[in-house]
């Protein structure tokens, strides 16, 4: 009834004042509430989903397709040897509190992130930086200790947004950036409200007000969308309901890609799992399509290695580990592990909880018993991720271009392969695009051949929005809800 009333009022407003015909406010649903609003000291994706490009901006910024574009830096020069980046900053940019944006803010931000006391969750992004210097008010020179192909890419991350020393202390609760929207208020547990920044340096956004609402319960999210309490839900938590939204002309379902490779991780310290035959058996026991259909209701792309399928360098290696329970049983018999029991630890997301139940059933089918433990994130991080106390777990690795984790022997799945480490070392020092592609292919093949983990599927970004909204990001190259290009069409 409320929804109807709202529409009724909107109709009235339209008749009365044609200029107000278009709605200029939006209510965006999110599953998780950000713990705070400072992306430079917290890893939660929710922080970026509220603040990225809306409140804070970096030197460079991601476009909806994942491309790296100029942000607060209008342009840049790179020295011949690739170690010195000279950024030319935009003129006339102000923070929301009125202080001017200058080269000093950039120096401050980058130095703060690299500092010993830094609480930046992605400190490695800044690891290559040797020194940062303000040349003049609008020029910054960053010197790297060695060339880094991904430096501009790194500077576009939410963790590298520019903050001013005047407001940095309070950014957790009262964020001050340079973006197109400024912070209005945060009703903890319920919503964050933003409004258009009238002094924005770039093109003014179409929206005047934006509200992020936090609805963690999937069924509540469904009900909120249906009742019109929320206009858009870019990461909708209940894929099973998308069919209903698709059938409803009021809504549009937006399906895109994410950087999330979803894998069944195996602990290589486990005696049985250190045997490649057992790992291969597990990979063959798994029917990816059943998991995608059963857990994600069809949304997701099968993968056979740790690489995003929408990346041009991706290799489709799914046939390496095709569903073949017979082969799985034979491999297990060969390895002498005919009655194996493994612990399967599952973090909260749907893909893990539902996918885990399906995988448990599939493994049982080839003779592997599993003991499922559902865990909260905090516990999962401590026990599985930091403590490596697990046999199997399901998790989506959402950082872009993260195949390098297979070259880290201390990483939670404890995979120690000298070959893989060599490949990644070489990649780090290679800047020739063709040679890089070759190395990336080699890396993908290596981990697939070694069945390091069981590669399941690429997580899809499934969003629902009012059909009259345009300009929402389809894909998620990074966690973000960039509202600068969003408008109502009616």
């Amino acid at each position: 009834m409320l929804g109807r009333l709202k529409i009724g009022l909107a109709v009235l407003a339209m008749v009365a004042t044609p200029a107000l015909a278009q709605r200029t406010d939006i209510s965006v649903g999110m599953v998780l509430e950000p713990p705070n609003l400072d992306p430079t000291s917290g890893a939660a994706a929710a922080i970026r989903e509220v603040t990225y490009s809306n409140i804070y901006e970096g030197l460079t910024r991601f476009g909806p397709d994942g491309s790296v574009n100029p942000g607060l830096a209008e342009s840049w020069d790179i020295s011949e040897d690739g170690t010195v980046y000279t950024f030319h900053l935009r003129d006339g940019v102000e923070f929301h509190d009125g202080t001017a944006f200058t080269a000093d803010d950039v120096v401050f931000t980058l130095d703060r992130a690299r500092d010993e006391d830094s609480t930046n969750a992605q400190k490695q992004l800044f690891a290559a930086i040797d020194s940062v210097r303000a040349v003049d008010e609008h020029t910054v020179e960053v010197t790297l200790s060695q060339p880094q192909g991904a430096f501009l890419f790194n500077m576009a991350w939410g963790d590298a947004v520019i903050m001013s020393p005047e407001s940095v202390e309070d950014n957790a609760t009262n964020p001050v950036g340079t973006g197109a929207f400024r912070f209005v208020r945060w009703v903890q547990g319920d919503r964050v409200e933003l409004e258009r920044n009238p002094d924005y340096w770039g093109e003014a956004p179409a929206l005047e007000r934006a509200t992020f609402r936090f609805i963690s319960d999937p069924s509540a999210a469904f009900a909120a969308m249906m009742a019109g309490d929320v206009d858009a839900f870019p990461n909708f938590p209940a894929p099973e309901t998308l069919e209903q939204f698709e059938a409803d002309p009021r809504f549009e379902v937006i399906v895109g890609s994410t950087e999330g490779e979803t894998i069944l991780s195996m602990n290589h310290e486990n005696e049985a799992l250190s045997d490649i035959r057992v790992r291969q058996a597990i990979s063959h026991a798994i029917n990816r399509q059943d998991i995608i259909d059963g857990a994600m209701f069809g949304y997701g792309t099968p993968i056979g290695t740790h690489f995003a399928p929408h990346n041009p360098d991706y290799l489709d290696l799914t046939d390496n580990s095709a569903y073949d329970p017979e082969a799985a049983r034979e491999l297990l018999a060969e390895a002498g592990h005919e009655d194996l029991t493994l612990r399967l630890m599952l973090p909260p997301p749907t893909y893990a909880r539902r996918g885990g139940e399906i995988i448990a059933a599939q493994l049982r089918d080839v003779g592997i018993e599993t003991e499922i433990t559902n865990m909260e994130w905090a516990q999962w991080l401590e026990q599985v991720f930091s403590g490596a106390d697990f046999d199997l777990t399901i998790v989506s690795h959402t950082e872009p271009m993260d195949i390098g984790i297979y070259a880290r022997p201390d990483y939670y799945f404890q995979y120690d392969s000298a070959e893989m480490q060599e490949i990644m070392e070489e990649l780090d020092m290679t800047s020739d695009p063709e040679a890089r592609t070759e190395l990336l292919h080699e890396a993908q093949r290596h981990i697939a051949d070694d069945s390091v983990v069981a590669f399941l599927f690429q997580l899809a970004k499934t969003g629902v929005a009012n059909a009259d909204i345009e300009g929402l990001w389809e894909n998620a190259p990074v966690p973000a809800n960039d509202l600068t290009g969003v408008r109502w069409t009616e």
Binding site: G42, E116, N120, Q122, G189, D190, A223, A224
Partner: protein, 315 residues
Amino acid sequence: MLRFALQRLTSLTISLIVASMVIFFVIEVIPGDPAAYMLGMNAQPETVAALRRDLGLDQGLFVRYLAWVGGMVTGDFGTSYTYRVPVSELIMARLGVSLPLTVYALVLSTLIAFPVGLIAAARRGSALDAGIMGGTQLGIALPNFWFAMLLVLFFSITLQWFSAGGFPGWDAGFWINIQALTLPAVALALPQASILARVMRSAVIETLGQDYIRTARAKGLTSRQTVVRHALRNALIPVLTIIGLQFSFLLAGGIIIENVFFLPGLGRLIFQAITQRDLIVVESVVMILVFAVILVTFLVDLTYAAADPRLRRRA
């Protein structure tokens, strides 16, 4: 009477101290580190250590316990690890939802239970009584979260009479919030009303059986008059006790309902804080809830003792 009150006050203080210790030390052994949770999968160990220093988590357990208790005595509940705002501020904001919801549910439950219980008592043994008693049995057996799901399915998704949840905030107006709290309050109230109606019925029947009521009847008062004039008044004491108990139960017990209707109340704050390992928030909220119940019990005891001197000796 004063001695009785002092005695009770001492045991109340001891209870609170024991409770604070149990709460603090149980919660602190929960596996999972707030700093690690906040910084996520890519954080480096030194970064986590730096954040732990920031949050004061590098201090000893006992030092932190004393700081926490010391702060609470002066009304300072500490600062939330994740939200970075004073815990008391968070709690006050959440009480703005939980308290009205609880009162609303309690009012609904009482409004339903009183007449229903009275009618059942007055018509004791009739088909109506049996029907009411059967209905209340059903109400007690109803899990409130399931009932809430059905309410959402019917009133929000199908009929679209009520929004499916959320809380606009008191600055958005009074009625819009009352509307938002209606389905959750109904879901909470119905099982409570069933319990209350049964208590009401037996309390009234009990008093009806007593001599002075019989006398009143003998004097020629009608059945309705006796029930309303005498039995009701005397049945109020057990009924009020139950209402008092239900108040504290509802305040803490709304957790699941708050989740179903995504209301930013106290229950959801605890839930969220546990997931995020915002332990100081969990500790403080639980402590406040325990304190509230202990205080209510204390007041009830005092009232009873004031009303009935025999009880004082027993203590």
